[in-house]
């Protein structure tokens, strides 16, 4: 699916598995994903479909029992999977790729002020820090040069205003519990943007928030990403959130990408039966509720062929035996299905 050129991030046939007591779970099975510079991509799917694993794989923070089996993750032309660990830490993770977590409650240390934690991040991840600086004995003696700290402090104050923190000057002296959930998520966005990243991975950033606060935070994230030309990979299970701020949407099911499309095309003409059923299961006025029968398959022994076939009403013999190839439909609209909803239902 990935085309070379102006893509910032390219994930190519990535396979990641987890060793568990019950066997090997293939959580990512041949995932392809391409993200252009400045684009907001929504990664949508139900729990257990592998979206968080994909985000963690890009950040290089997979759990110890995870095994990377095949594929590449190219970021700005370099393969992140073969990059030396030291360089990944020094230059990429937390600097060129940053992360906004789902839970702003659990992501701050409750014992330190927000300011102390922000400076701790900036000490290592500030855009002004030269790679490798602050290591070794010389670094131990003056790890956070005062001049840089002063410049960083200005950047922090500016960023707190940019995320519309009420009373930004007082914010750095407060402890995390003194902020509401929405304000903590604003702080998280500030922390993610301070290192001036090229890619931000946002893992369900508004799931824990109320609707009115969710609308505020999504609006903020969209404005800041667009004005800074930052790419965002937004994982969410909420199609409404994806509709709000994404340029393109990728749907995952049971560890595989099943459909990718530009946002308007995606919601107007979904082609994969899973996508269609997912959209139909949203409660909407004037329409009966419809569910997807069955359950998401276990990834230890996934069904052969198309992984959605046991729940799919359009499945035929070929779906049960062969893994469907990617079909290009309209421009930029790709689907992995033998019977996409462009054709009549098979007999």
């Amino acid at each position: 699916m990935a085309t070379p050129g102006d893509n910032l991030l390219e994930v190519e046939s990535l396979r990641v598995s987890f060793r568990t007591e019950a066997g090997t779970a293939r959580v990512l099975d041949g995932v392809n994903l391409a993200l252009r510079a400045g684009e907001i991509m929504g990664l949508v799917g139900e729990s257990g479909c592998g979206k968080t694993t994909l985000a963690n794989a890009i950040l290089g923070i997979l759990a110890a029992n995870a095994r990377h089996e095949a594929g590449r993750i190219r970021f700005a032309g370099e393969d992140l999977l073969t990059m030396p660990r030291r360089r990944m830490e020094d230059e990429v993770r937390g600097r060129r790729i940053t992360f906004i977590p789902q839970d702003p409650y659990g992501s701050f240390n409750p014992l330190f002020t927000v300011g102390a934690q922000t400076f701790e991040v900036m000490k290592w991840k500030s855009p002004l820090r030269a790679p490798g600086a602050g290591r070794g004995i010389a670094g131990f003696l003056s790890r956070y040069p005062r001049a840089r700290r002063r410049t960083d402090a200005k950047a922090i104050a500016q960023m707190l205003r940019a995320v519309q923190m009420p009373d930004p000057a007082a914010a750095t002296g407060k402890l995390p519990h003194e902020f509401s959930g929405g304000q903590r998520q604003r702080l998280m966005i500030a922390l993610a943007l301070l290192p001036q990243p090229r890619l931000v991975i946002a893992d369900e950033p508004t799931t824990a928030l109320d609707v009115t606060i969710q609308a505020q935070i999504l609006k903020l994230l969209k404005e800041l990403a667009k004005s800074g030309g930052i790419s965002v990979l937004l994982t969410t299970h909420d199609l409404g959130t994806a509709y709000e701020i994404c340029d393109r949407i990728t749907v995952m099911y049971a560890g595989q990408v099943v459909e990718t499309a530009p946002v308007d095309d995606f919601f107007r003409r979904p082609h994969h039966p899973y996508t269609v059923r997912l959209l139909d299961s949203l409660p909407r006025p004037g329409r009966a509720l419809s569910e997807i029968g069955g359950e998401v398959p276990r990834l230890i022994d996934p069904p052969a062929g198309c992984r959605f076939h046991p729940r799919c009403t359009r499945a035929t013999a070929i779906c049960r035996s062969e893994h469907p190839p990617v079909t290009q439909l309209a421009s930029g609209h790709e689907v992995r299905c033998y019977h996409p909803l462009t054709e009549a239902a098979p007999p």
Binding site: E46, G181, I213, A215, L218, H237, G240, E244, E291
Partner: protein, 321 residues
Amino acid sequence: MSQPPLLEVEALSRRFPVRNMLGWKIGSVRALDGVSFKVRPGETLGIVGESGCGKTTLGKALVGIHRPSGGRILFEGADITGRSRAQRRAVAPKLQYCYQDPGHSLDPRWTIRRSLREPLVAHTALSPQDRDARIAGILEQVGLPLTHLDLYPHELSGGQQRRVGLARILTLYPRLVVLDEPTSGLDVSVQASVLKLLRALQGTFTLTYLFISHDLAVVRAMCDRVAVMYMGRIVETAPTETLFAAAKHPYTLSLLAAIPDIGGRRVTDTFTLAGEPPDPARPPSGCRFRTRCPRAAAVCAGSEPPLRPVAPEQSVACVRA
């Protein structure tokens, strides 16, 4: 309309003390402040609001988990507010509370069978055989196989846990069920199946629901009437269709404006409500929403606006509506 209400709540209030480091009471949070409404038999009343608005406190006060600080609760015409524990037990089977997350409210060390048996042991005089027969019948109604009886809660999926949570309540044949966020944390496809089940059960068991949720799309699909809460008070009540077509309170309008409308205008392009709810220990004078309200005027700071009827079945607590 002519039927007497199943549940009547009058000026219900509940205060939680705020204590300082030494444990001295230095104030109180009015989690519920003069809440009044009626629930008719067989209807589904939605209680909507953001976190901290008091909707869970309301649900828990109704079933006796919280003791109200003031006001009255009339269930089937009888005042149940001041009753002792022993007296309440008579009402308990008929008035049940379904916890938000059954994954946490089911005992992890008990099998599903034991969890389902407990309410029957506590509230009925059924023989063990009759208990098992009733459990088997209920389990079928909520769409779970009998084999699940010997599983532990962690072996079930989120949707199945909700079904067990419901089964646990239904074994007592309640009349009114308080559903606290029955679908929060579920995937949309699972949510749809749980909502369908709730509707089917309402028909089978002739249930009345008090449906607490922050998700207006779900409320719209499920409820006959809706009450919107803000900081411990009801600010608007209306039949569901009226509320979505012609809401009057500025807070309700902001809530409606924040729902993503797939295929329509984007909320992030149009949404204007700024700020967050104020500290509940120090609510603003007058109307509690006035600090965020786009239509606030000097008159709003004066006294708290009472809920007043503006249309048939619709009441609004706003002087400017």
